[in-house]
Symmetry: C2
Subunit: 209 residues, 2 copies
C-alpha cells in the first residue's frame, strides 16, 4: 500500500487512503471500534501518518463524513444531470431524493452501497454531543435542507417550500436510518416507493407506480 | 449510592441504577465513551456489579435501549390515555406520534428530555453491524411499525395501512434524528408542526394549526 500512497500527489494520496480506511473501519467496527491504530492498519500506513492528517478521533469522523459526502455529491450530480436531460426537472429532483434516502437498487437488483449512509448515521449519533462534530453535522444538514427548499420553490411554487423541505428531509433521513439499520424491514424498493408516495403529495398527483 | 443500591429489591435496584447510569454515560460520552468502568463510577457501584448484570458492552447498550423504551411506553400510555379520554382516538394517535418524534415541549416551553432519543440513535447506529444489537433493534422497530399500522387501519380504513405506516415511521424517525442531533434546525415546535402536517395527509384534511 505504501507504493500506492507514494504515487499521485503524495500527501494527498495518503490522505485519500486514510479517508477510505476510516470509512471501512467505521462500517465494520462502529464508532466505538474506530481508532487511529485500526485506520493505520486498514490503510497500510503508519500511525504517525494518520495522526499527521487527523489529530483526533473526531477529526477522523468528520473527514470520513466529508469524504462520503463528496462521493455522494459526485454521484448525485452525475445522476441528476442524466435524469434531467432524459426526463426533466421533477424526475431529477425525485432521483436526488431517492439517492439521499439510499433507496436506489443496484442494476443487478442488489441493494446499493450503504457505507455512506452508515457513516452518516454514526456522524448523526456523535453530533448529539456538543462540539466540532455537532457543528459540522448541523452545517451540512442545513445546507441539504436549503438545497431541497430551493428545488421545491422552483418546482412547486404553490407550496410552502420551508415547511415542505423540513418534512421531506425528515422522510429521507428516516428512510436512510432504516436502510442502514434495518435493511430487512426497509429494502430499497420499499424506500423508493415511500419516496415516490411523498413526492406525489408534493406534486399533488397520484404516486407514480 | 451504595445505600440506595441496597434498598428496594436488592439486585433489581442495582440493575436499575446501572441502567440509569448507562443512559447518562451514553448521552454524555457517546457509545465510543461507554465503558463498564464509567458506568460503575456513574452508578456508584463496583465494576463487578455492572459485569454481573451486563457481561458485554453490547448488553449494556441493549439494556439502555430497553430501559428508555420502557420509560417511553409508560409515558406514552399515560399521555394517550388522557388524550383519548379528552379528545378522542385520532388526537391520541397524533399525541403518540408527537412523542415518538420527540416533538413535545415541556410545560415551561423548554425542549423536553432528549435522552431517550439519543440512546435510540446510538442503538440505530450500532444496529448497522450484524449481531445481537441489530436483532434487538429490528425486533423493536418492527413492533413499532406494526403498532402504527394497526392504529392507521382502525382510524383510516380507507388507506393502505402498511404503506402509510412505513411512511409515517420514516417521518417520525427522521424528526427524532434531527431533534437529537440538530436541535437548532429542528426545535420541538417545528417537529410538532411537521407531524401535524403529515397527520393531515393521513386524515385527508388540512393541517391543524
Amino acid at each position: 500500500m505504501d507504493t500506492v500512497a507514494m504515487t499521485g500527489s503524495g500527501r494527498n494520496s495518503v490522505r485519500e487512503l486514510v479517508m477510505d480506511a476510516v470509512v471501512q473501519v467505521l462500517v465494520r467496527d462502529g464508532l466505538d471500534g474506530l481508532s487511529v491504530r485500526r485506520v493505520a492498519a486498514e490503510a497500510g500506513v503508519s500511525i504517525g501518518a494518520v495522526q499527521y492528517h487527523f489529530a483526533t478521533k473526531d477529526a477522523l469522523l468528520v473527514a470520513a463524513a466529508n469524504h462520503v459526502t463528496a462521493q455522494f455529491k459526485s454521484r448525485a450530480e452525475e445522476l441528476t444531470h442524466r435524469v434531467l436531460a432524459e426526463e426533466g426537472a421533477a424526475a431529477a429532483f425525485l432521483a436526488f431524493c431517492q439517492l439521499l434516502a439510499n433507496a436506489i437498487e443496484a442494476p443487478d437488483g442488489e441493494a446499493g452501497d450503504t457505507n455512506a449512509t452508515i457513516v452518516w448515521l454514526w456522524f448523526a449519533a456523535k453530533a448529539t454531543q456538543c462540539g466540532a462534530v455537532a457543528d459540522a453535522f448541523a452545517a451540512g444538514w442545513s445546507l441539504t435542507e436549503n438545497y431541497l427548499r430551493g428545488l421545491i420553490a422552483d418546482l412547486f411554487p404553490q407550496l410552502d417550500a420551508a415547511e415542505e423541505a423540513g418534512h421531506l428531509l425528515a422522510v429521507l433521513d428516516g428512510l436512510a436510518v432504516a436502510r442502514a439499520s434495518e435493511p430487512d424491514r426497509m429494502p430499497p424498493h420499499r424506500a423508493a416507493t415511500i419516496v415516490r408516495r411523498h413526492f406525489a403529495h408534493l406534486s399533488g398527483g397520484d404516486p407514480a407506480s
